[in-house]
Symmetry: C2
Subunit: 214 residues, 2 copies
């Protein structure tokens, strides 16, 4: 059994993101380091290291003497993040090998079509969506870009659980993914990139209707 040999700070970061997905933390609340560390069964040192990482990704905010808190959600920030990821994913897709994309297009189509039961755990749904995007970008050779996309998406996780419950948005998302896959199958990289951009813009609109006006 290959016991966990990764720095605690990384394991803690992952665990905090997992809890965030599950809605354990409500946005805007302060973090009590001692309490959270005790809860996780670690000391404050690696916990703080994880918190600093998450702050760098925009998941947390910090201010002198007041420690860390979960960054509040806002329509404006969500819009900003969507714009950014849309541009970055488009860049990644543009820079991918067209032949490779053509090869994986059927798999992308399949994934898009058999989207999970709308009543499934939100977590399952999110993971399915992530899987599709990951596969789509798996042909990008710009490693830094892929890292950056992962990092920015971590900053969007605070919004993911807002999508819970309704099924109509999921179907539209799936439709749009199909469209991207079909364009890739035809070998039209340019159009696929535009369809991906549209997907983000539309997805943003769908989500915005669920974020309360502050």
């Amino acid at each position: 059994m290959p016991i966990e040999r990764r720095p605690l700070r990384e394991q803690i970061r992952d665990e905090l993101l997992r809890r965030l997905d599950r809605g354990y933390f409500s946005a805007g609340t302060d973090i009590n380091e001692a309490a959270l560390a005790a809860d996780l069964g670690v000391s404050r040192t690696p916990l703080r290291e994880a918190l600093i990482t998450l702050a760098g990704e925009g998941v947390l905010e910090s201010s002198q003497g007041r420690g860390f808190r979960f960054a509040p959600v806002s329509r404006k920030e969500f819009r900003e993040l969507c714009e950014i990821v849309a541009a970055l994913e488009a860049l990644a897709l543009e820079g991918s090998d067209a032949a490779y994309l053509k090869k994986i297009a059927p798999e992308l189509l399949r994934l898009a079509r058999d989207f999970p039961d709308p009543v499934a755990e939100h977590q399952v749904i999110e993971r399915h969506d992530d899987e599709w995007h990951d596969l789509l970008l798996s042909g990008c050779r710009n490693e830094r870009l892929l890292d950056l996309i992962t990092s920015v998406k971590a900053g969007m996780r605070r919004y993911a659980h807002l999508l819970a419950g309704d099924d109509a948005p999921l179907e539209r998302e799936a439709d749009e993914h199909c469209r991207v896959a079909e364009l890739l199958m035809k070998g039209d990289l340019r159009a696929a990139t535009e369809a991906l951009r549209d997907n983000w813009v539309n997805g943003m609109a769908r989500m915005l209707s669920r974020i309360p006006v502050e």
Copy 2:
């Protein structure tokens, strides 16, 4: 005198980037935390916090048990970073207020024209270039995007000092900045964005000729 009231980790991060600009550290070398902490006159704790931040920005790498080291420079990574920043700056410019851009265009032109003496400190030259880009993007209202650009650019600082010494690249850079400013003056945001993209592509080519083939 307003004594520094920021977390040490931030001051340390800034100081490390400053030293990086001055070429104190050579890429690829391991960091000895105790020695560096002693040199800076702080303890290892806030130093490590700064190192973790820098690792998140791609300035450093880390591996289990072996600590941190300055990420090695490579033509591939530099190309990747340039692509990313080009896309992000283009996005930022597109999203700016056209009227505001028209207003600051003359100042941009002035800044581009009186570029500093080529024999000046590299640091001065870099700062001048940064100033121009900062002003150009000052009309962007996507705050997350601006933060992200700053962060990615921090990851490029390892390459900046390679530009030292020659003056021809600086003049070309200035020419291209002028062109962007002129297009903004005309109110042609689309063309200006393209010119900015070209500026990054060309700047990348100029730099690549100075990065040794690994």
